[in-house]
Symmetry: C3
Subunit: 150 residues, 3 copies
């Protein structure tokens, strides 16, 4: 049973790490808190959304700076969380996210995506080292209107 318990404790810690990311992205006002979700060498790969790939804290912080400037409301609904790999301090998890929001320009967004994340555990707990998301359902036009700048 000890194995089962150990797994539950780590699975819960991993899910709480991803919920914490959702808290940060939905607060829309705390970049320092957002950055605590990522390892220093993290990759935020949004190519699945036809957006860029960001490497390291400076680039990732730049992306969220823009997102927080653009949006007035956010709600990221996390479900179907599952651990696909767990080996010591390295893990990979999948989840569904219904990502909703309203831009300051008044555009409402609703996207249905999956997250495919690597997380690494250190003294600071589990942090995201690789963040990939892509549409689970066909994407509406509104997303690129808001986030992709000419």
């Amino acid at each position: 049973m000890a194995d089962g318990i150990e797994y539950l404790i780590e699975k819960n810690a991993l899910e709480e790490a991803v919920v914490k990311y959702c808290v940060a992205v939905d607060k829309l006002d705390d970049l320092d808190f957002m950055m605590t979700n990522f390892t220093e060498d993290a990759v935020l790969d949004l190519t699945g959304l036809e957006l860029p790939r960001f490497e390291g804290h400076e680039q990732i912080r730049g992306f969220y700076t823009q997102v927080f400037a653009d949006m007035s409301h956010h709600m990221h609904i996390l479900t179907n969380f599952r651990v696909v790999k767990l080996a010591g301090n390295e893990a990979q998890v999948y989840a569904y996210v219904t990502g909703m929001g309203r831009s300051k320009a008044g555009v409402d967004i609703q996207v249905f995506v999956y997250y495919d994340l690597d997380l690494r555990k250190s003294d600071g707990g589990w942090k995201i080292s690789r963040f990939f998301e892509a549409p689970q359902l066909p994407m509406p036009e509104s997303v690129t209107q808001v986030h992709k700048k000419g």
Copy 2:
């Protein structure tokens, strides 16, 4: 590891208490069962929805009597559950809820809110002592049409 296990057991009990509330509000036909979700001195604070603040079982029961009379369908989808405080028999939890329903008058409702709840543990398990909810995304007009009586 014992601390981790104890926390998981309480977190699960807290989440089950909130899921149970969702079962009760979605059944739409069992006021006694609904009231088992609240401590005797509970406060149901709906001021975040521009609705009243109800204190104690009699007022809370009155509110749900009206809700159950108004609605033909309910579905409260609970996600992003998290424990923000846990100290002995007192806890505070947050969650997202997508609240949907159809009124008997034929009005469809869909709201995107967060719950901010205090729960207290006694012989009867965890019960809600303070219930606050507010919009996470801008609210449609339909909600106040159905629940706010002139």
Copy 3:
């Protein structure tokens, strides 16, 4: 506390079994993987959706063969998971599912249902022995358009 731990481990295994079903139904391309979710004598009862009742692997596989042929996208969002019975190797669970998809013919589907499932545990872990779902909110017309063939 041992009882509490044992329950959490089984509850998690049951939820993972249902999440695994969602993975299978959303992949839309692996019938063998889909069938690992069901006991040999499973009943897939879709009469709550005004669709047939399927008994045993051959009939169930036939149903998903058709579904996978019809649909280009699927997303089954699982929430409000709860264990209503757990006795040894037999369990009953409820959950909410927001079932979404797009048919190859271009019809978008979104249904709000509940799952009422029996699961049985064997060497292969928990598998579904009885699958029943029904609308939690009124059903749109589009569902029967796609899945019910003349």
